[in-house]
Subunit: 178 residues, 2 copies
């Protein structure tokens, strides 16, 4: 943050405001405190019979890697609406009746992944603009070495493990800086 | 957003960037797109025997109203760490072994509440800087007309209902614009 987005000042300071306990961008000219907070990445693993729907990323980061359809939650939507939107944008599949599956924090990059599950009504899908390919995978077919993000590995492992044991749980996870 | 926080330009535009599908603040001088996304409010309902610990707010909004200890999640922490921090800051109670209880979206103000439950090891607590008072309440004692936020009513109602029925669930909720 080089300039105050409120008054245009070039004298931005990064310091602990009075009464606070952590540094923020503070404008000494208009006194605005600019807070930054973690972002939510919302997504959903579509399920069809014994298979799951993954999208191969057409964009950076991790271009060419496979992912649970997900992306940044937008203003003006619920977490579930955001997840269904991401599934539609990436895989052209429609999901309904989403159930919460995983909440995964990545503190060093200020992200929280919220992943749902949803059974597809029909195996209709296609290749969205941000995808190179979209495919159903059984557990044996999942390309474990080519999964885009740790959050997706977490969600997939727990999904298959829960399914083998006939249970449904919400899984809390965290990725530490490696 | 009156000025570009990157280059200081005063010519900010609010428009749909190429390849996007919703309006963003875009700087025509340095081409930076300034995204804004929902914020997470993380919190935890501390439980002691048949009572829950609420904090009376010493700050706006809803000054003087009672609340499940919660606040904006900060960069660099997990959702659980943020919830435990908020409990400490508001009630001087230490919570461990948090279990997820509720995820509550408020789309028109771009917030997602994530509330946990935690049994207190001991009934030790005090009045944090942002609180006027802190108290344990049984279900009958909860001041339902003086609860600060809908998200807290949601969390409290489900907590007592689950407890009566001897179950533990994660509850998904949404507050529509009234």
């Amino acid at each position: 943050m080089n300039f105050c987005s409120h008054c245009g000042s070039a004298r931005m300071e990064f310091r602990v405001p009075e009464g606070d306990n952590r540094p923020r961008y503070v404008c000494p000219d208009c006194d605005t405190i600019h807070y930054t907070n973690p972002k939510i990445v919302t997504g959903c693993l579509p399920v069809w019979e014994n298979k799951v729907l993954l999208a191969q990323r057409a964009i950076s980061p991790r271009l060419g890697y496979w992912n649970v359809p997900s992306g940044y939650m937008e203003n003006g939507e619920t977490v579930e609406q955001g997840a269904a939107r991401e599934v539609w944008e990436e895989t052209l599949a429609r999901v309904r009746h989403l159930t919460l599956h995983a909440v995964f924090s990545i503190p060093h990059i200020n992200q929280v992944y919220i992943h749902f599950l949803a059974e597809l009504d029909t195996p209709d899908f296609g290749v969205g603009e941000e995808s190179l390919a979209v495919r159903l995978f059984s557990e044996e077919e999942v390309p474990w070495g080519e999964i885009a993000f740790t959050s997706s590995v977490f969600t997939l492992k727990h999904f298959f493990s829960d399914r083998r044991q006939g249970r449904r749980e919400v899984h809390m996870g965290v990725m530490e800086r490696s």
